[in-house]
């Protein structure tokens, strides 16, 4: 037994000692916990931690196999994301007890706060007292046992799992229903209660998902994307696209879903030009050798930074939206090019981890596939708040793509139209976010950069919060970002362009004098080295490529990702279609594309008279359109357009 006295050491030191003791197989006793947060997070050994007193947020969070005993009360997020192992709390627990657990047994002898068991996948959460509102909110699986009062809206929007209620039912949540219990289930519950020495002789009611919201009611009339490149403003107002849109919606009675990025032009980096004649400048035979491009991202607060061979990384895209083979190809290419890859939502695969030399692990509100082991083998952690393609929405994966295997990785029922939560269970504001970031850092020993992904909106405010909350970098995603599936209207009309996002972010940070306290990775519609350099000139520390990398690897941009039958085998989980994708061949193509991007960045940087990509600045740019000039504050020089055209023709 190792004893740790939190009146003597900080939580950070305490957690390091807990993990060290756990690794050696010693049980741990924590004295004077004084309701401190994050006690025992990241512990992955089968030892018992006894907390003599009360604990704060996230007791035992992000752990596996360990057992926690708390004598008194705990704050919110008890056992956050625990895989195996157990927690027994002698007193009460705050909100979201058992959030996102995936196998753990969590026993609270007193009452639990609201939203208990939110997005849990597996395991048991037992509350011997009363529950607050929305217990089982959006749970995907596992079992909640409440011996006292149910609280309001029990099982709100649950997708799977079971809730057993021993006390009175206050009200059922949306898409939850009562069903009959089976004797075996009851016997199992009794055995569980006996194991944790909880006397309860009453009967149980059982609540499950009612199945009304798991799938879209009517299927959308499928159409192969019709290339409407003229939009209202440039053509008849009631053009063919409008008519088609009305027609389809008048058949299905709801918003349309599609894949890919924006269909209409918005102010873009390509409305800027370089101040100098880039094509006229002598760049020599090997600009790549002449220009310093190595970029470190994420190290400003002491974490080990990502080391990029150029200021480029791969934008987050999930295994799920994309096939395993496509993810593998991207990972291989990123490794070859010396840049970072990103898991996107839905977990990390061994193949991806092995192929990508540097890998960012993305955490979403549904905590699908999120776990301490993959965090430990990641090179960066990312908290997804929103994405440019559909800010406000969680990931959307139509049933066709939710295969058994994918459901297994994510811990969700197979065959549902997966619509991930829009918010994190434990991030309801900037203050929670600070504590969440701290939990991730505590669990991984402050080794990894922690970033935030933001679909650009109220960037002036959001970026200030991001910097104040202490993120190492922000992934700023403009509305041109693509997605595997999203509401068509949201993709077109929610969010601001990438160009606007970076300009607003820079201005906001400058206004509080904190530009140096965060790094910015810009993404959303960046297609090549030319766009990349413009993004860097406007202030981004690096840029990320998503769609363009996919296109380099064989995507034909048919915009039918949501259908799940991708003709090239990229955006599909159908093995017959995935078979068409030659991961190794396409990895080489993606790598070659990334090298061409590198060449372009180097050539332009050199042509602009710099020796390092870090020297790129706003002074290298002019604006070609009035909109771009107003957004960027750059000089409006429409005549540069003709120079560029002339150069290209020559």
């Amino acid at each position: 037994m190792v004893t740790i006295d939190l009146s003597q050491v900080s939580v950070r030191e305490g957690n390091e000692q807990i993990r060290a003791a756990g690794a050696e197989g010693h049980d741990i006793e924590v004295l004077n916990p004084d309701a401190r947060h994050h006690i025992g997070v990241g512990l992955i050994h089968p030892v018992t931690v006894t907390v003599r007193g009360s604990a704060g947020y996230f007791l035992g969070g992000l752990s596996d196999k360990a057992n926690f005993r708390v004598e008194r009360n705990v704050g919110w997020g008890l056992g956050d994301n625990m895989y195996n192992g157990s927690v027994v709390v002698g007193g009460n627990a705050g909100a979201i007890a058992g959030v996102a657990i995936r196998g753990a047994e969590i026993v609270v002898k007193g009452n639990i706060g609201s939203r208990a068991g939110q997005v849990m996948k597996k395991g048991t959460l037992l509350c011997a007292g009363n529950a607050n509102f929305m217990a089982g909110y959006m749970m995907y699986g596992g079992r909640i046992i409440i011996l006292g009062d149910s609280g309001e809206r029990l099982g709100e929007d649950m997708s799977g799992g079971e809730i057993f209620l021993g006390g009175p039912l206050n009200s059922l949540g949306s898409d939850a229903t009562l069903t009959d219990t089976e004797q075996a289930e009851i016997d199992d519950i009794r055995a569980f209660l006996d194991r944790y020495e909880i006397p309860f002789k009453g009967s149980f009611q059982k609540v499950v998902n009612a199945g009304k919201k798991l799938r879209y009611g009517t299927s959308e009339t499928p159409v192969r994307s019709i290339p409407f490149f003229t939009f209202s403003g440039q053509s008849d107002y009631w053009n063919q696209k409008v008519q088609e849109d009305v027609y389809i919606k008048s058949q299905i009675g709801r918003y349309r879903v599609r894949g890919y990025g924006g269909a209409r032009a918005v102010p873009h980096l390509s409305d800027l030009a370089f101040r100098k004649d880039v094509t006229a400048a002598a760049i020599g035979d090997d600009p790549v050798a002449d220009v310093e491009m190595k970029t470190l991202i994420g190290g400003i607060n002491g974490a080990k930074p990502l080391t990029l061979s150029m200021p480029v990384m791969i934008a987050p895209m999930s295994y799920g939206a994309l096939s395993r083979s496509a993810k593998q190809a991207i990972a291989i290419a990123s490794g070859m090019a010396g840049i970072a890859e990103n898991t996107g939502e839905g977990g990390m695969s061994d193949a991806q981890r092995d192929a990508a030399k540097q890998l960012i692990f993305q955490m979403l509100g549904g905590r699908l596939g999120w776990n301490i082991h993959d965090m430990n083998r990641a090179d960066g952690l990312e908290i997804y708040i929103s994405q440019g393609a559909k800010p406000g929405f969680g990931g959307q994966l139509m049933a066709k793509k939710v295969t058994k295997e994918l459901a297994e990785i994510r811990g969700i029922p197979a065959g549902i139209d997966l619509r991930s939560p829009s918010r994190h269970p434990d991030i309801l504001g900037a203050d929670d976010l600070v504590i969440k970031i701290e939990e991730l850092r505590e669990a991984t020993g402050y080794r990894l950069p922690v970033s935030v992904k933001l679909g650009a909106g109220r960037i002036r405010d959001d970026i200030k919060i991001a910097v104040k909350d202490g993120f190492d970098f922000v992934e700023l995603d403009g509305m041109q970002g693509s997605t595997g599936a999203g509401g068509a209207e949201v993709m077109e009309y929610v969010g601001i362009p990438t160009l606007s996002a970076i300009c607003e972010a820079e201005r906001a940070l400058a206004s509080i004098g904190r530009r140096q306290d965060i790094e910015i990775v810009l993404m959303g519609g960046i297609r090549d080295g030319v766009d990349a350099v413009k993004g860097l000139c406007l202030g981004a520390d690096a840029i990320a490529l998503g769609t363009s990398a996919i296109i380099a690897g064989g995507c034909i941009a048919c915009m039918q990702c949501h259908v799940g039958q991708c003709v090239t085998g990229i955006a599909t989980q159908d093995p017959e279609h995935e078979k068409r994708y030659k991961a190794k061949v396409e990895a080489q193509h993606i790598y070659t594309f990334l090298e061409s991007v590198r060449w372009q960045i180097a050539a332009i940087t050199k042509a602009l008279g710099h020796t390092s990509a870090k020297q790129l600045s706003r002074d290298d740019l002019v604006a070609l359109t009035p909109e771009a000039a107003e957004i960027t504050g750059l000089p409006y020089e429409p005549d540069r357009r003709n120079v560029e055209l002339f150069q290209a023709a020559g």
Partner: protein
């Protein structure tokens, strides 16, 4: 030409008419199949037309650059197919067979429009093969008189003499020849007229203003081994010529064909069909991966039972006493790569062996020859000495093309030579000494993408293969063409690499560039630099000054960290609406308008649809069916009705107070409809003074027409100005604004509400749902929809709109649609910013 240079569009105005194409269209990229086709066939278009059932249009696209389309439909080596990008996925489109499908339908009957002879000058062409006849075609179409001199008794060259009827029936060749003659009245073909024998080059030069030599590669090469002069050793082209002339000689039991090219394939398959022949073997000196024969011919031969002996080289032919031959061979292995990249076969030691047979057919290459040209000094070895740039020979008046000038190739390649030489001959005859260098033009017919939703799944399907058939000696055709269903499925598989898919940032040109960037050598500085220059080219300004302000150019600001998003998938957002301080309650803030003049069944359908979702109707007349009705009261027309839930008095461009505007009962809404800025202020003041409930703003200024939105984009500044006036008066909360103009979706509705409207009016959008179509300046309703269908569609479009509107609100963090504010949206263009009074996104 590389694909990237191929795609940099030339200025159409600077190109001669023959070369003008569509490569400067920013919504077009020549697809890989089109680039791979030597004659630049617009395959994506004809494939698109086939899917649409537009066979005549497909026929036009096919034949536009190819006078031998019927022939090519059967036997083209189809370089388009390996280039097809679907090849890497589940197999290339069967582009040739699709062409055949169209030609089988229309090839025999189509009568082309004759191209009149308009010029005095004439051209003599020697050799009626694919190169010569295509040159003749192009020059005749250009208006010249053309005479073709052919030494055999039929035009067609290797197309007719080289390819057996089981692959290319005679009548198919006939179709193309008939069409050629009909198209080109100024073209005369002189058969049985050989150069040197019947006519000399000197004579032709006198007779014509220019001469084109397309003499072909007519003669089979010798193998150069002992014993090959035996009568039982024949050359492949000669063998095929006899067969194609109609001979069906008795064959020995076993035949060996030497060679791995197309002639070898045709010869071995022809031999197999002849009487007496039981076994055919093909001896080829390299391996199966190097054999030059087209895959489909090779497969056909294998399926018919022909044996392929690879890595084997003939060294001698030994006649045997019993009427048979022994073909002595050695085994070969792969040596160092040749100049063409193929590995040179090297002889393996101690590998000599004999293959017994009754006949050897040598198909080891061809050569061209002509004594007259030799005498004139125009030959270089077995070809006419020809300069590729300009297709000129040493004689300024004499041009050359095809296999006879550049060596053995394919039909379609020879045809492209014909086009090329015609271009230069025309320039020469027009006195243009420095014509723009020839390149294959890439044209598109901009055919919509096939709307078959199974296109990603449909597997490649080959037409039925028959092999030698029941009576082989008759040479029945080896395969059928597609049925219509099969052709349509195959056509649906096309990726349409030539076309936009609807992505803005990843337009067809951008994605093609990315594709090429993914395939260029890391250290190929020249290519990288060319691509960079291309990528630096700015896009056209999508927001030119004349682009009006539009709802499209408004975006919502999503909630992120500064406020919480309301989960659009699950969490509630109120959209119920009350107007006139509780006088009217609606489940959602939607009205429909504009059906006063619609047919009765449409009215009934719309009414039922509106009732289904409890939306209101605004019109001069009630719609019936129980939907709450706001009556549009026009001065001096129909009197206000007490049946109406509200009375909206229509105000003209110059404000005049409506006479006797009063509620007929206490719960009746009272409103004003304003369509003009000029009347706005007075109307608002009047409305406020007289306790009106609603102000209907008509953004289309067109009062009195039943569907004012037909006029186009609404004037958003009406809404801006109304709000500005109300704010100035500090009475924004005292009157509810209904916005009517350009609302197409729930998103548009949410935008109007964010800008200050309380509810919106759907006109055209509901009309489209109810089956309306725009015909000129009129809206007509398709008659083939039942009342129930119209009702369901109207209800659905409004349900969808309700979902979309609340989705926008939730994304911005609102639990009530009416909490949207101008602050929740931004403009993307200056025009829209000005018309709405909103900042440009990214400027705050």
């Amino acid at each position: 030409m590389t694909m990237e240079t191929a795609r940099i569009g030339a200025d159409a105005n600077l190109m001669p008419q023959e070369l003008a194409d569509d490569t400067s269209d920013k919504h077009f990229v020549a697809a890989p199949c089109q680039i791979a086709c030597p004659v630049g066939t617009d395959a994506p278009s004809y494939i698109g037309y086939i899917w649409a059932g537009k066979f005549e249009e497909a026929f036009e696209a096919i034949t536009a650059t190819n006078p031998f389309s019927s022939i090519c439909g059967r036997v083209c080596d189809a370089p388009c197919e390996p280039a097809c990008r679907r090849e890497a996925s589940d197999g290339a489109l069967q582009i040739r067979n699709l062409k055949r499908f169209v030609m089988d339908r229309l090839g025999a009957t189509w009568t082309p429009k004759p191209a009149a002879q308009t010029r005095e000058q004439s051209i003599g062409i020697v050799g009626a093969g694919p190169a010569g006849l295509v040159a003749a075609h192009d020059l005749a179409v250009a208006g010249f008189k053309v005479d073709v001199y052919e030494m055999t008794d039929k035009p067609g060259g290797m197309m007719i003499w080289g390819i057996p009827a089981f692959r290319l029936p005679q009548n198919i060749i006939g179709e193309d020849m008939v069409r050629l003659q009909k198209r080109c009245p100024g073209l005369t073909i002189h058969t049985n007229t050989a150069l040197g024998r019947d006519v000399t080059l000197e004579e032709l030069k006198k007779r014509h203003d220019a001469v084109v030599l397309t003499i072909g590669s007519w003669w089979g090469k010798k193998m150069g081994i002992p014993g090959e002069n035996d009568a039982r050793v024949v050359d492949g082209v000669e063998f095929l010529r006899r067969i194609n002339a109609g001979e069906r000689p008795q064959m020995p039991r076993e035949v060996v064909v030497i060679g791995g090219g197309d002639v070898a394939m045709d010869a071995c398959r022809a031999a197999l069909r002849l009487p007496g022949c039981e076994k055919v073997k093909v001896v080829y000196r390299r391996g199966p991966d190097e054999i030059p024969a087209r895959k489909i011919e090779l497969q056909g031969a294998v399926e018919e039972g022909i044996e392929f002996i690879y890595n084997t080289q003939q060294v001698e032919i030994l006649p045997q006493g019993d009427d048979s031959l022994l073909l002595r061979c050695v085994k070969t292995g792969a040596g160092e790569p040749d100049a063409d990249g193929r590995r040179r076969p090297v002889v393996m030691e101690n590998s000599q062996h004999d293959i017994p047979c009754g006949m050897v057919i040598a198909a080891v290459g061809q050569y061209g020859a002509n004594d007259d040209l030799e005498a004139q000094g125009l030959m270089a070895g077995d070809r006419v000495a020809t300069e590729w740039e300009g297709m000129k020979t040493a004689d300024p008046k004499v041009f050359a093309a095809g296999d006879g000038a550049f060596g053995g190739s394919t039909i379609v390649m020879a045809m492209s030579h014909g086009q090329r030489v015609a271009y230069y001959v025309k320039a020469f005859l027009e006195g243009n000494a420095k014509p723009v260098a020839y390149r294959t033009p890439w044209r598109t017919r901009r055919v919509p993408v096939a709307q078959d939703t199974r296109w990603e799944q449909i597997a490649l399907h080959h037409p039925e293969f028959h092999g030698v058939g029941e009576n082989p000696v008759e040479f029945p055709e080896i395969e059928s063409t597609y049925t219509w269903d099969e052709a349509r499925d195959e056509a649906a598989r096309c990726y349409r690499c030539d076309a936009e898919t609807g992505s803005s940032d990843y337009s067809v040109q951008n994605r093609e560039d990315i594709f090429l960037m993914a395939r260029m050598g890391k250290d190929d500085v020249a290519r990288q630099a060319r691509m960079l220059a291309k990528r630096l080219r700015p896009r056209e300004n999508p927001f030119p000054q004349d682009r009006p302000a539009t709802l499209d150019d408004l975006v919502f600001l999503p909630a992120n960290l500064s406020r919480l998003v309301i989960d659009p998938y699950r969490e509630a957002c109120a959209i119920n609406t009350d107007l006139g301080f509780g006088r009217m309650e609606l489940e959602q803030p939607f009205f429909a308008a504009g059906f006063d003049d619609a047919p009765a069944s449409v009215k009934a359908g719309v009414a039922a649809g509106l009732k289904g979702v409890a939306a209101g109707y605004i019109g001069v007349q009630p719609l019936g069916g129980g939907a709450p009705w706001l009556q549009l009261v026009l001065p001096g027309q129909i009197a206000p009705s007490s049946e109406a839930a509200g009375l909206i008095h229509v105000v003209g461009p110059r404000f005049e107070a409506p006479q006797g505007a009063a509620r007929l009962h206490e719960n009746q809404l009272l409103g004003l409809s304003v369509a003009h800025h000029e009347a706005l202020e007075e109307a608002i003041v009047f409305g406020l003074e007289n306790k009106f409930d609603v102000l209907l703003l008509n953004g289309n200024h067109a009062v009195g027409t039943s569907m004012p939105e037909l006029a186009g984009a609404p004037d958003l500044s009406m809404l801006r100005d109304a709000i500005t006036i109300l704010r100035r008066l500090n009475r924004e909360e005292e009157i509810d604004i209904l916005w009517y103009g350009g609302v197409r979706s729930g998103t548009d509705a949410a935008k109007a509400i964010a800008l200050g409207a309380k509810a919106v009016v759907f006109g055209m959008a509901v009309a489209f749902a109810a089956g309306a179509e725009i015909h000129g300046h009129e809206l007509l309703f398709a008659p083939d929809r039942s009342e129930e269908e119209r009702a369901a569609a109207v209800a659905n479009i409004l349900k969808a709109a309700a979902g979309e509107a609340s989705m926008m609100a939730r994304c911005t963090g609102k639990t009530n649609l009416h909490n949207l504010e101008p602050e929740d949206i931004r403009a993307l263009t200056r025009a829209t910013a000005a018309a709405t009074g909103l900042p440009l996104a990214g400027t705050t």
